[in-house]
């Protein structure tokens, strides 16, 4: 009988069995973890956008400086890195970020829509505009990225399309009303996406607290505003003739 005692005790008390999956598997398999993936990739893209926006503003210093800046980007890391390797590294990281961000968003969205299959008969406006437009905004931005790469990276659809002359390509591009329209709409979508996305990322990464909440919301709003204004400044300047 003595031998039986501890076994029974353990049986009655033990409620957890089995091994846990690895950290990455734990993250990718749970909604909370997948949101973390979105938050981290979102922050990576956001940091890139800040640099991108600041670089864009060099256009106001004229063709030579802007084209020079574009050339310099390809020489970063030399001689350790080969010509334009740095840029490729950035591109690979960004593609990975976009893919993970998009796949996680797609999977989570499907799950979220399935979790609330029936709508309320009594409809009322919910949450803020930025919050409600995250999914559509994300889709718009994804499409824009494709357009933007074809336009100013591969120059496939650029009206001028001369490699090594980004300044001239940009000016030629933004003289088209549809290019301006696409760009500005996308940048407004970007502003909204960041406005909710940055605060949301902080929440998802557990960086938010009652004390920080207001400051985080302010930062998200300010950054969204600055980025949108900074990006939109370029086509607006071309349209108004400030940059030509």
């Amino acid at each position: 009988m003595q031998g039986v005692l501890p076994t029974v005790g353990v049986m009655a008390l033990a409620t957890r069995t089995g091994r846990r999956p690895s950290t990455l598997a734990t993250l990718w398999r749970s909604t909370v973890g997948k949101k973390t993936v979105m938050a981290v990739t979102g922050v990576i893209m956001l940091l890139y956008l800040v640099a991108h926006m600041l670089g864009n503003l060099k256009i106001f210093f004229g063709s030579t400086e802007f084209n020079g800046y574009a050339y310099w980007l390809r020489t970063i890391g030399e001689p350790a890195l080969h010509y334009s390797w740095f840029l490729w590294i950035v591109r690979v990281v960004l593609v990975a970020a976009v893919v993970f961000h998009g796949v996680a968003a797609y999977q989570l969205s499907r799950r979220d829509l399935g979790a609330r299959p029936t709508a309320y008969a009594h409809r009322r406006p919910r949450a803020g505009y930025a919050t409600r437009t995250m999914r559509w905004g994300g889709i718009i931005l994804a499409l824009f990225i494709v357009w933007h790469l074809l336009d100013l990276t591969t120059l496939t659809v650029n009206p001028r399309g001369e490699a090594g002359h980004p300044y001239q390509n940009v000016v030629a591009d933004f003289r088209n009303w549809y290019a301006d329209a696409i760009y500005i709409v996308a940048m407004l979508a970007l502003g909204l996406h960041i406005r909710h996305g940055l605060w949301s990322a902080a929440q998802t990464l557990g960086a938010n607290s009652a004390r920080r909440d207001a400051a985080l919301k302010f930062t998200a709003n300010a950054l969204a505003l600055v980025l949108t204004a900074g990006f939109v400044a370029v086509p607006v300047s071309v349209m108004t003739g400030v940059v030509s």
Partner: protein, 248 residues
């Protein structure tokens, strides 16, 4: 006062439901919302109709049994439970839409009654401190700083009504789950199971078919007990910490 009610009627889980209109008269503004429904039901019985089924018990705002979506808002226009909502917040001639909680994880049982047993399973997967009866040390053996005890209490106030899930466009149970995770994880008594608790509870929450959090904040607005939205951030932090540290 006189009101038009449009109420979701559904005979059973598999049957189709529909919004059905009823007129009620002689409603006093001192009545609670449920007393208004009692009045309707008394009449329906005498008319030979089936009364509207709804969950309710304590009618003091603490058991968490009652809950319906009133004019698109979980528990209606005031920040309280349906049983503590009074008719003085409505006006003569109003039309009021009354619907059950809507979420895949809360299937409708009948009319306004839904099955919230998924919440029990979330708690059962880790929302406790393993302290078998008789094994407790003297209560004063571990002092708990007052701010910590207060934080624990504020999260322990959750009544498990499900309004957070009903209000969330994703049918997510993050606020409910985080309330229990924060309550127990901030206390020294909850520390030994800190990692397993959050991992297991989030795992069960996902498995039960609740949606993910998109940080819309609707849950915290609907919560009758004021569980703060930041508790979700705290749970996320606990989850990330546990994903790294949990013993395997």
């Amino acid at each position: 006062m006189r009101l038009t009610l449009r109420i979701w009627r559904q005979r059973g889980p598999e049957q189709p439901g529909t919004m059905t209109a009823y007129e009620v008269d002689g409603i006093s503004e001192d009545m609670s919302f449920l007393e208004m429904l009692d009045t309707l039901n008394e009449r329906l019985i005498l008319d030979g109709d089936e009364p509207v089924a709804f969950d309710h018990d304590c009618r003091e705002g603490i058991c968490g049994a009652c809950g319906m979506v009133i004019n698109g808002q979980a528990h209606g226009p005031e920040r309280t439970t349906t049983c503590q909502l009074h008719m003085r917040h409505f006006s003569d001639g109003d039309t009021i839409d009354i619907e059950p909680w809507r979420a895949a994880a809360f299937p409708v049982v009948k009319d306004l009654v839904v099955d919230r047993s998924a919440f029990d399973r979330i708690i059962g997967s880790g929302g406790y401190v393993t302290a078998p009866t008789g094994s407790a040390p003297e209560a004063h053996a571990t002092p708990v700083p007052k701010p910590v005890a207060d934080t624990a209490f504020e999260h322990a106030e959750c009544i498990g009504c499900g309004a957070c899930v009903a209000a969330c466009p994703n049918g997510s149970a993050m606020l409910f789950t985080s309330a229990k995770v924060v309550h127990l994880n901030v206390l020294p008594q909850g520390a030994p199971e800190r990692e397993s608790r959050v991992l297991d509870m989030v795992g069960t929450m996902d498995a039960e078919g609740f949606g993910g959090c998109t940080n819309t904040g609707e849950c915290a607005v609907a919560c009758p007990k004021g569980i703060p939205l930041q508790s979700i951030a705290t749970m996320n932090r606990e989850f990330l910490r546990a994903a790294r540290r949990a013993p395997r």
